[in-house]
Symmetry: C2
Subunit: 335 residues, 2 copies
Amino acid sequence: MIRTALAATALAPLFALAHPFVVATPLAAQVAEPQAAPSPNEIVAQADAGEWIAIAPEDLLVMTLAPDRDGQQRQVVIQLMPAPFSQGWVENIRTLARDQWYDGIAVVRVQDNYVVQWGDPDGEDDALAKPLPGGLRVMTQREYAADAPLRTLNDRFPGTGRDDYAENTAFIAGFPVGFTIYSPPPGTTPDRFLTSAWPIHCYGMVGVGRDYSPDTGTGAELYTVIGHAPRHLDRNIALVGRVVEGIEHLSSLPRGTGPLGFYEDEAQRVPILSLRVAADLPAAERPRFEYLSTEGATFARYAEARANRRDPFFIVPAGGADICNIPVPVRPVTP
Amino acid sequence: MIRTALAATALAPLFALAHPFVVATPLAAQVAEPQAAPSPNEIVAQADAGEWIAIAPEDLLVMTLAPDRDGQQRQVVIQLMPAPFSQGWVENIRTLARDQWYDGIAVVRVQDNYVVQWGDPDGEDDALAKPLPGGLRVMTQREYAADAPLRTLNDRFPGTGRDDYAENTAFIAGFPVGFTIYSPPPGTTPDRFLTSAWPIHCYGMVGVGRDYSPDTGTGAELYTVIGHAPRHLDRNIALVGRVVEGIEHLSSLPRGTGPLGFYEDEAQRVPILSLRVAADLPAAERPRFEYLSTEGATFARYAEARANRRDPFFIVPAGGADICNIPVPVRPVTP
């Protein structure tokens, strides 16, 4: 019931961000109808250079798979989750990468409309498992989230924020998050606090495989989402980043035929040749990426257009969008 | 605003169906916590035989792709959309299949996190396009939907129905649909009418490719969803069914590198050897499938469990689910 009540009271964006759902209706009414409305991608293409934020080399992982059967290279680039989320696991992943621990492990599971997972194929066998480096942190389940109050909310965009899995959603530092709200007694200033926020399982997000709770995983076993957002995993598994390039090398792999999509035949596994922090590569070999600020005017226009398609193909604008249908634009930086 | 108000007034299920969102909270409070809560799939496995509904052979399509490079067979089975939705296109598709028109066309487009599309590779070239059979119907955009009042609503399940793309959602005849509501003046009986309902673009749904409106497509060009539900396509393109077996033969195809994921190299296209209505196959060759009634007690339990995972892996039940995260169970019938 509290969630229904909150949905109706028009929660405002977090960090004064443009919330995609709440801006949709007001902007649609204000914008004069152009001759041919731009598509969301056309809006992004018009962004000022200053609205793009460079991703630090320390926050990019370069994962190189064995070439495919035609000898084609397969490289996947992952952006690590920014603070304040999941930072213990993110540190562990840098430690594992710098130990070159991931080199020689493999993609072991491909479950249709769900996840691709990679790890030590012998990880379940104590006698055969690849030893982990020292210095890994042991995390608790709650440490994926930012507990609060992070910052107060305001009511800049009265509107229609709705979500089936969280009281509301927004973007923080370029990532989709869900959050809960605490409303203190009337008359208190400020009148609402963000009490907890956590990352959301959209397509391409990367998370930490684990066994049954209280195990939370070290970060040695990772997965990425290749289907409809499995939001029931939110707050149950730590998310540590997202694929920003090369997801097709994972999403188009043959599906495993064992339980949960594990490969039954070892020959189907896809070896991981190396996984490196971009900062550790020679400068000339570092991939460079930037994302569109989720706090800027262009992102607000883009999100509104994702929720209300007016480009020529469309007849009935939806009037809304779930947060996973508003992927944050990320692009390579060409030298 | 009307959508927010409706979300807060706990709209009831359509056709007295168990609406997944609205049953979630009440049931969660009523059910005693078992020692080990069953997973959604375990709940489905316990369904009575009478809750499974056979899919008519007239409503199943068998699409055979060319074998893969290892010589493995690739068969995809599609269930056509039941009445009252999109029936003009469904009739066209049967006409095209019975003309064997689809035989020899190809998968021409694979766009990551979006769609796989098949059709006549020369369809855009009037001189080369494969002639269509006579008797195809020309449809208008609105004919995907069932306009109303189909049936009145009741308030059997007060709850939390929410959706970003429709006033509410439900299942009709085993398919996910969105719908709008008309509320007549106070004192009128019944006090609410369903005014329009339309199928929803979940993973695996099959739709009709088209050019710019008012063209609606004939059904000769089809696509299926292989990513996060592209709900902005709802009410913009006719949905005509869903893949019930073999989607992995489409979702794991290499992504196209041309605009919109079209294959740039003709050699990448995947030939369709044949596409048949199951009813036209010899009885022994007909695939048989059945789906779990979306009106039964088991589906209600299943949907509730999808929204509130309590099986051992989970720590925080979501408390809700979007309709595309409640896939309707479909299974082959073994002789």
